[in-house]
């Protein structure tokens, strides 16, 4: 019997695991803590975060300013109590990571260095060159090795939450290596499974980001929140979708169109200055920058490539030395994947799906409405990101709420020491039978990949940067039909050992489920706010929609959307102003 079972070994999951292990070390009855992850923890997608992690340390910066930037960046859809807690704890978490050995970049006097970042009024983004997530994840993973009591289920894929009578009792998981299907009983479960960028065709997200945790919670009866808010990052490499970090602009990079013109000045984002200015031009928020791209495209001022229209990111004026010192990974990526050198060439870029603001609805301690079930990291929606996340807020989010969820789960496990429910075994058996059927093979039916592609293009068409009611309505039908077709797919792999086709099939199901919630929420929100832009409802409508979307799974499996008020503490809704002082 596991006390705290964490699904996911990325930034949020590992931080939660260490929090529980430390709580045990600090005294009280011992707790069995386990991390289940479908990849080895250090392969989790946190590894690819580049730019940095925000936390107030600089002189002349205040917690309130970080709150305000976050809330206005999120177009007032953030829960302000959560933002306040987040902003207050972020610096502590970043220092904690420093104490664990994270190689933060430094000032010459030995203090941690900070850099500017999009939408932030002050310099408060900590960074480890441009491999922040990589260093953060490896520091967490290596530190977690110190706690030998943390049980690890590496390369186990969770397919189901066992929930009975409103309370979680564990998970059903496949050991990928052997194909063994097991029910792992647990007093509490923390979902830290990351985002779902893979429901879109063109994304910075890794293959593993298929929204599993969201679907697990949703199927188990927990609501998802704000699923319509999908962040496009303005600068992805055209073929691969590899991210060119915002740090490239923070260090002084320019976005130019096909005429070499810094087009952002036409979109109320300020006037061009030779050196970067905070909260202005290239350092505006991501939603606004990605929207500007679409307008440029409509004006015919983008450049066509085999992989779609692009604009250019110009880093040439920064010079080789600065590029190598501050953003070496950008240069490495451009050289290996785009065959160009940013010191001498323009980088072609276009907006790319990057981050999910929405996720499993939780309170400020990561608790979901299902007793014993918690969520943290990108898979959760504590509502600090609102309608648009600011770059460098999400790594600290993983840390702050990973820790909070860990502590809350430990607390819950200690106070609810009752045993497992009878339902656990039957639910586990049903799930095993279902999965075993997926290994029986089938030479008829469509290919998993084809359905996946159809889903991705449906989403891109309907829930892209700009949306409209008609297309969304059609997408609802397409997705429903795809779900049916996904029940009868062709299966080539019938073996038990490392059967990745079985996993891909489960992922297709979870992605379809998540895709339906995205489209349903987008259809329901008849206004434009942050990353959700409806051409048929171009204005923000605070009277009707200053509220979170909350989506439940109806008994027939379709999403049913409602609204939940936003928590406002000290910052009443206002206009989002960038580049104007």
């Amino acid at each position: 019997m596991i006390d705290v079972l964490i699904v996911g070994g990325g930034g949020a999951g590992l931080r939660a695991a260490i929090a529980v292990a430390e709580a045990v070390k600090a005294g009280g009855p011992p707790l069995a803590v386990a991390v289940v992850s479908k990849v080895y923890p250090m392969r989790s997608h946190t590894v690819s975060a580049e730019g940095g992690a925000a936390g107030v340390i600089g002189i002349g910066d205040t917690l309130d300013e970080h709150c305000y930037d976050t809330i206005s960046g999120g177009d007032w859809l953030c829960d302000q109590d959560a933002v306040e807690a987040f902003v207050a704890e972020a610096p502590k978490e970043l220092i904690q990571l420093e104490h664990w050995g994270c190689p933060w970049s430094r000032e010459s006097d030995g203090r941690v260095a900070v850099r500017p970042f999009g939408g932030m009024k002050k310099m408060r983004t900590w960074y480890a060159a441009d491999k922040t997530g990589f260093h953060l994840l490896h520091t967490l993973f290596q530190t977690s090795l110190k706690y030998q009591d943390v049980i690890r289920y590496d390369e186990w894929y969770v397919t189901k939450l066992v929930v009975d009578d409103g309370r979680v009792h564990g998970v059903v998981a496949v050991e990928i290596r052997t194909g063994r299907i097991e029910t792992i009983a647990a007093r509490t479960v923390i979902l830290a499974t990351g985002g779902c960028g893979r429901v879109f065709p063109f994304t910075t997200n890794a293959a593993i980001k298929t929204g599993d945790g969201m679907a697990l919670a949703y199927r188990a009866g927990a609501p998802l929140k704000d699923m319509e808010f999908v962040q496009y990052h303005p600068t992805g490499l055209p073929f691969t979708g590899i991210l060119i970090t915002e740090a490239a602009r923070a260090e002084g990079g320019w976005l130019i169109n096909k005429d070499g013109y810094r087009y952002l000045q036409d979109y109320d984002l300020g006037k061009p200055t030779p050196t970067p200015k905070l909260r202005s031009m290239e350092l505006g928020p991501r939603d606004r920058l990605s929207q500007a791209f679409v307008h440029e495209q409509q004006l015919g001022r983008t450049v066509d490539t085999p992989y779609g229209p692009v604009v250019y990111l110009d880093l040439r004026h920064l010079g080789e030395d600065k590029i190598d010192a501050r953003i070496p990974f950008v240069r490495e990526l451009c050289r290996s994947y785009q065959n160009l050198d940013p010191a001498t060439d323009l980088i072609p870029v276009r907006p790319v799906v990057h981050y999910m603001m929405g996720g499993v609805h939780t309170d400020i301690d990561g608790a979901t409405p299902i007793a014993g079930l918690f969520a943290a990291g990108e898979t959760a929606c504590v509502s600090i990101n609102g309608a648009n996340r600011l770059g460098s807020n999400s790594l600290p989010e993983c840390l702050v709420f990973g820790r909070r969820a860990g502590i809350a789960a430990a607390e819950f496990a200690r106070s609810h020491r009752d045993g497992e429910a009878a339902a656990v075994r039957t639910q586990g058996d049903d799930e095993r039978r279902r999965l075993e059927r997926g290994r029986e093979g089938s030479s008829t039916g469509e290919r998993i990949a084809d359905l996946r592609e159809e889903m991705q293009h449906t989403l891109e068409g309907a829930a892209g940067i700009y949306r409209t009611g008609d297309v969304l309505t059609k997408a609802v039908d397409t997705l429903a039909e795809l779900r049916e077709r996904a029940e009868e797919v062709r299966i080539d792999d019938t073996s038990t050992a490392f059967n990745t086709e079985l996993i891909n099939l489960q992922e297709l199901h979870t992605m379809l489920e998540v895709a339906q919630t995205i489209v349903a929420c987008a259809l329901n929100r008849q206004e434009s706010r942050g990353a959700h832009q409806r051409t048929d409802y171009p204005a923000r409508d605070d009277d009707a929609y200053l509220a979170h979307s909350l989506v439940h799974r109806a008994p027939d499996g379709t999403p049913s959307v409602g609204l939940l008020p936003v928590t406002i503490t000290r910052w009443p809704p206002g206009e989002r102003v960038y580049g104007r002082d």
Partner: protein
Amino acid sequence: MTGAYRPPRDNLWFARTRHCAFFVLRELTSVFVAWTIVFLLMFVDAVRTGSLQEFGALAGRPWMIAINVLALAATVLHTITFLNLAPKATVVRLDGWRVPAWMIQGGNHSAWVVLSVLIAYFILRSP
């Protein structure tokens, strides 16, 4: 599940890549280092027992010369590889600045040349 596949030992691993072959060559120079020492000891023995004549005759045999030409090639290879790799173990930092490998290597090779000239001078200078 039946077990994982464990590939058998590859007896020709050193022939699979140029780099591995070169590594083995580098290591095998040690045989010639040993030979050179044996040869030198024979020489010193000849000097001390006054049998230089016989030694000279032996050293002049064609096969002996052939071996020593090989030994020369091997010891030179040893020198070059060994001096080039030395900076790996000895990272020198001056005031935080890391002395680049090529400088250390350059220094090593210069020392080699100077020492060789000195030795040749002491051996060859007429008394």
